[in-house]
Amino acid sequence: MSDTTPHTTADERIKAEPLFSRLMKRPELGAIAGVVLVAIFFLITADSAMFTTSGIINFLTPAAQLGILAIGASMLMIGGEFDLSIGSMVAFAGLFFGICVMVWGLPLIIAIPMTFLFSAFVGAINGTIVIRSGLPSFIVTLAFLFILRGLSLVGLKWASGGSTQLRGVRDATENDWLAPIFSGDAFPALFAWLAEHDLVETFKNGTPKVTGIPVEIIWFVLLALVATYILLRTPAGNWIFAAGGDADAASNSGVPVKRVKVSLFMVTACCAALVAIITVIDAGSTDARRGFQKEFEAIIAAVIGGCLLTGGYGSAIGAFFGSIIFGMVVIGLTYTNFDQDWFQVFLGGMLLIAVLFNNAIRKRVTGER
């Protein structure tokens, strides 16, 4: 998080800092390098179909679904806290959304804001318990990992009359004017136009192979930009870094640390709700396994993106690239001859390398003695 405006007189005691070492201090550097390396790996080993437009969209879609969570998780981690309950929160928010639509028959314009409000409320409970008790967020949100998952199961059985799946959301939302913002592909007209002019690949009958960009990718990019802007260019961003760097020092300097942290828990829960809404409308149903283990994947993506486990350092853009690495590896392996299960090995390896790398970067930034 450096602000590069060197408009001061030169000091003889500082060596001109080469571009390379300036870049080395950026938290997202590791993730960008990772994207490049992983891309090169698959360019060599994978079927060339992986890097066509449809192939790229293929791996960006899971990357985006994870990335929306990872961006929330990274902001929370920079603020010095964890949320292990985001995966369960996806299921819980999905359940609430399903009930809004299926049981109460609400239109999306009411169901979606209600789902966000409800999720923010659950996030606030999480955050308030962490702040009030002074316990590590790790343990408090671990409890919520189970509580929310269990509640989702119980709630689903209640709402669906005994099953752990609530179907029919697709039919109920199909004609809702808000649905295109949260499901399907964006810019279909653009892709149709491109196909007409032979600018994208088409099937024989002239329809484009890719009919648009899945909305989650648009949400993912927007969220990464907004989060980065907030972190680097607003007072709130400064408060997040400060609260995570040293909560006491920040509070003594006038940062409303408690408010910042509770807000971050609420934002993270809302990210989970967004993923829940998108995936539930897309799949047309919600089930209790939705978001299973996503909390770990999101935290791993945030760490690959340069977030320190100790807080106070990291970037949302890093989490963005961390999630893309994730998507590339999960989907990329299907384009290769490798066994799919290498994925887990790869994941652990990436995490380990990222943590070692981040540690080294932190020492560079602080000039640790």
Binding site: S2, P6, A242, A249, V255
Partner: protein, 273 residues
Amino acid sequence: MTDNSKFHHGDVDDSVAPIVQMKDIEKHFGNIIALAGVSFDIRPGECHCLLGDNGAGKSTFIKTMSGVHQPTHGEILFEGKPMSFATPRDSMEAGIATVFQDLAMIPLMSVARNFFMGREPTKGRGLAKRFDVDRANEITMAEMRKMGINLRAPDQAVGTLSGGERQTVAIARAVYFGAKVLILDEPTSALGVRQTSNVLATIDKVRSQGVGVVFISHNVRHALAVGDRFTVLNRGKTLGTAKRGEITPEELQDLMAGGQELAQLEGSLGGTV
């Protein structure tokens, strides 16, 4: 009437009402009694030194003034009105700025971001309201230069600064924001000769602009150089308050040591520590 000296120009008007008045402040941490009834006040344009042994309760006391701790008993009057600061932010908004003994800095953040932490300058309005990074950088560099430290760059992380440089950032920050009261908890403990003299001169300057300064130090000479009044704490209680010119360095030093003899050291250090 006291003489002007290098770090002390002009006297305080005794008739002026205090900005902050602390009455019988007690602070308990569980079964530990850190403060057992301390009274203290600070007038505009005065430097009030708070002295005492390690663990006497000086830091705890000023933390109740800056909103970090809420007193267990006792009353705080701010400009004559009862006031209870729930958070440090409240006391800051009232115009009280503090240099804490631990400095309250974030090592991973840049100097400029630390400088404005919690009070970021903004530009633009509504949704476009944003952190004015350029202005923050400029002011930080200028304020640091005034304190005699040439920063290499405003985006340097505080963790890479030397101890004294770090302390200077904290002092410059408090001086910049301390509109009415400036509290300095051992601000010169890590400073070089030139920077110490700068800090003492700065205290003298803001004092003559009408700011009330609370200055905590273990160094009798620093305290005597700038102080108008001297309050000595010992084991959570006040041993008394003396005015400038009414107390000798030796008497003050004995009080600070809790009245105990500094027998073995006295000779070799020539009277003052």
